[in-house]
């Protein structure tokens, strides 16, 4: 099996049990062994496979990569892309970049918080959605933009939220 950067966003089934997922992550680490400075890339892959990066998993990665846990944890906590909390099935990123902010993204966030009944950074009780904000997703021409998983929704208005969520 070839594991590489391109597979990072794959949609295949990464195995269902924790053991299978850990085994896959282990393989991934071995594949990166000879590359200098690959910790961040390994964490990306691990998050893709496991969904998030709980402390247990960070320990596993640290051990397998022969690095102190403090180093792994330091990196995980530095970058906003890594999450140590379980995430919903889908992640909603409301863009709060300049272009989207100027076009009313703040209202959109409030409307989504209202609609989903959770604050930014939280998961809905049915574990369906995580609500998050992003710093410019590069769709500024379509502001305000919302990214649900990897799909970008353009010019979303508070009134269009229902239609958008229904697709998931």
């Amino acid at each position: 099996m070839s594991l590489s950067l391109e597979n990072l966003t794959c949609n295949c089934d990464h195995g269902s049990t924790d053991e299978e997922k850990y085994a896959l992550i282990g393989q991934m680490i071995d594949a990166y062994k000879d590359k200098e400075g690959s910790l961040i890339q390994v964490l990306h892959a691990a998050q893709e496979i496991y969904g998030y990066l709980p402390l247990e998993l960070q320990k596993f990665i640290a051990l397998r990569m022969n690095k102190p846990l403090s180093e792994v944890n330091g990196v995980v906590s530095f970058y906003s892309f890594f999450s140590t909390k379980e995430r919903g099935e889908h992640t909603i990123h409301v863009c709060m970049g300049t272009a989207c902010y100027v076009r009313g993204a703040q209202k959109l966030v409030e409307a989504l918080e209202d609609k989903l009944g959770v604050a930014v950074g939280e998961v809905t009780p049915d574990k369906k959605f995580t609500l998050d904000v992003a710093r410019c997703i590069g769709a500024c021409g379509l502001a305000p933009a919302v990214m649900v998983d990897n799909d970008v929704h353009r010019q979303v208005q508070p009134s269009g939220i229902d239609a958008m969520l229904k697709q998931y």
């Binding site: 950067l5 391109e6 990072l8 966003t9 200098e36 400075g37 690959s38 910790l39 961040i40 890339q41 964490l43 990306h44 180093e71 330091g74 990196v75 530095f78 970058y79 906003s80 892309f81 890594f82 709060m96 970049g97 300049t98 272009a99 902010y101 100027v102 076009r103 009313g104 209202k107 992003a134 710093r135 410019c136 997703i137 590069g138 769709a139 500024c140 021409g141 379509l142 502001a143 933009a145 990897n150 799909d151 970008v152 929704h153 353009r154």
Partner: protein, 622 residues
């Protein structure tokens, strides 16, 4: 795939691709840039294919998918060649009709062409559209007009021939001299002359050197680099290899942000193609120069766009800046001499080597030659990606290319240079877009984000927005930035809530000066700029918030209530339906009223009113 060993192989590929394409009478360049993808261009593309099948046009018309053609706000779009007719706002519903009208009836489906909002006229030919007329495309050349996922398509436009010329006919020093003479300045924000940087890289002595492409594009509100990578990934690769050859680096990295999955995907495919053809990881064109290129994906930290943090991040660490000196060209990535350039900088290199420095200096102005790509966004009609000669007056960009402000609103200011930059006001709208002219106005060229703001925008709130951003993104390594940005944010939050104190403006100026002088890296050193610039030009707005408890733009909720002008109100009830707190009362066809005690100043009524009868006013304290 056959390997490329010499220029004859390149010519052969070019000839084959061109004759394959030449079999068709028409080509459809179908925009598959990320903007258009998010407007459902895949369904429309399917519609094009189905229509071509149905109408039996497959021998006559060839559709190719290209990168972003620039006019993102009107997507999905397509360009029909050779007649250069541009169709916008396509959908699965109208695409069949457009295809039939154009290719079967032989007529232009005019109603689906670009419409000038002022004259109401339809403009079918892309060259006549004001958005494109004044542009000069060098870094964006081929973006929107070549197949992004075929190396053959790039070679057919002359791609990699420049690399061949440089490697077989020029010494590294000659390459550097050409770049020096072009006076190309870095497009990532700093504006440092690229040739001078490369000379330093070239002169550094080491067993291993690196060249790094900065594709972190952290400025929120900018998407130029993404468009270049997605539209012409091979041009970037060619530019990086040329840089590697010039400075003597055999290994390169592209550091790209995780928020750009499509760009990552297209670039890694392009790297695979180049490798399969022998352009990477093998001696190039029979010489002994060989180069390898690897992608590193970021993980969401603005500071990683700063070059020393970026190197930390590539090494797999927390992206905290390093103390300079040593400069990267002395001891950079893994302690080796390293040269870092921005995506757009590299994208200019093949053109400069191909056409020589004279070809490039034809554009722009003394001290800053060539062109600059801008991402136009905000309250502007034609939001998208543009490339113009350096020195073009901003008015031309906002009014002609951008088509003015949405809804005919009045221009108040443009934020240039993102969180490190400043604003250019309506009074200065004729400023030439040039490094030094922008600095003189308290803004900066930055990486090219240009956000147009209408009179509905509160400048204090805008400053708060940027401070919120940098405060959140400050890595925390140095005290000035970590604590200074936090204090400045607190003051701004206070002011926008109507709780400002009388010496807050002075305190912001003082704090700003300290952070600017003492922060460790560019993030902190430039963080106060949006505040300093808005105080310079909009001090009255700050004072209105602090002393009158009034937000002139009606944006700061805590300070605003809305009021309906009974003379203008037509009683359509729309505002009543939109009001979240039931603060509006009134009967159909009768003037409505807002109850100031219930109004929370959200502005939902304001944006729903069809006749502009609603205005923000000052909230009276009780």
């Amino acid at each position: 795939m056959a390997k490329i060993n010499d220029k004859y192989d390149l010519s052969r590929i070019k000839y084959n691709y061109r004759s394959e394409m030449g079999r068709y009478e028409h080509h459809i360049y179908f925009c598959a840039g990320a903007g258009c993808i998010s407007c459902g261009c895949a369904d429309v593309a399917r519609g094009v294919k189905e229509s071509l099948d149905e109408l039996g046009l497959n021998d006559k018309v060839k559709m190719i998918e290209t990168g972003c053609i620039g006019l993102c706000s009107l997507g999905p779009v397509m360009l029909v060649m050779p007649e250069r007719i541009f169709y916008v706002g396509l959908s699965p519903k109208n695409i069949g009709k457009v295809i039939k009208t154009h290719f079967v009836d032989g007529q232009i489906a005019k109603n689906y062409c670009y419409q000038d909002l002022k004259t109401k006229e339809y403009i079918p030919c892309i060259d006549d559209i004001p958005f494109y007329k004044d542009q000069v495309r060098i870094a964006l050349q081929g973006c929107g007009t070549t197949e992004f996922d075929k190396i053959e398509a790039y070679i057919a436009t002359g791609g990699y021939a420049t690399l061949h010329k440089a490697i077989t006919e020029m010494t590294p020093q000659e390459v550097i001299d050409e770049v020096k003479n072009s006076v190309l300045r870095g497009r990532g924000g700093g504006g440092f002359p690229t040739g001078v940087k490369w000379q330093a890289g070239h002169d550094a002595v080491a067993d291993q050197k690196y060249i790094v492409c900065n594709a972190d594009e952290g400025d929120p509100g900018a998407f130029m680099d993404r468009s270049i990578i997605e539209g012409t990934p091979h041009k970037l690769i060619e530019g990086i290899i040329l840089g590697g050859y010039a400075i003597g680096a055999t290994k390169g990295y592209v550091y790209i942000r995780a928020e750009y999955p499509i760009a990552v995907n297209r670039l890694s495919k392009a790297i695979d193609q180049a490798r399969a053809m022998g352009l990477l990881d093998e001696p190039l064109f029979g010489t002994d120069f060989q180069f390898s290129l690897e992608i590193r994906i970021g993980a969401g930290a603005f500071v990683c766009g700063e070059e020393t943090s970026l190197m930390e991040s590539i090494e797999g660490h927390r992206g905290e800046p390093r103390q300079k000196p040593p400069l990267p060209f002395q001891a950079g990535l893994f302690g080796k001499p390293t040269i870092i350039n921005n995506v757009e900088t590299f994208a200019n290199i093949p053109y400069i080597i191909k056409h020589g420095a004279e070809g490039y200096t034809r554009y722009g102005r003394v001290g800053a030659h060539g062109t600059k790509v801008f991402a136009l966004a905000g309250d502007i009609v034609n939001a998208g990606i543009i490339e113009v000669p350096i020195g073009m007056p901003m008015r031309n960009i906002i009014e002609n290319i951008g088509g003015g402000l949405i809804g005919g609103k009045e221009f108040k200011a443009a934020q240039v240079g993102g969180p490190s930059g400043g604003c250019i006001t309506a009074a200065d709208i004729d400023v030439p877009m040039d490094y030094s002219e922008l600095i003189a106005k308290g803004a900066m060229m930055g990486s090219g984000g240009l956000i147009a703001m209408s009179t509905d925008t509160c400048m204090v709130d805008t400053a708060r927005f940027f401070m919120d951003f940098v405060q959140d993104e400050s890595c925390g390594k140095c005290v000035a930035c970590r604590i200074g940005t936090k204090r400045m944010l607190e003051i701004l939050q206070r002011i926008t809530k109507g709780e400002g104190k009388k010496d807050d403006i002075d305190r912001l100026l003082e704090l700003g000066a300290v952070v600017k002088d003492t922060a460790m890296c560019g993030l902190g050193q430039t963080a106060p700029n949006p505040i300093l610039s808005t105080i310079r030009y909009f001090r009255d707005e700050y004072e209105a918030h602090i002393f009158d408890h009034r937000c002139p733009a009606g944006r700061c909720q805590a300070l605003t209530v809305f009021e309906i002008d009974p003379q203008t109100c037509i009683g359509c009830t729309r505002c009543k339906k939109h009001c979240p707190t039931l603060a509006i009362t009134g009967e159909l066809k009768h003037a409505h009223v807002v109850d100031p005690a219930l109004c929370i100043g959200c502005g939902a009524c304001y944006s729903s009113c069809p006749v502009d009868a609603i205005h923000p006013t000052k909230r009276e304290e009780n």
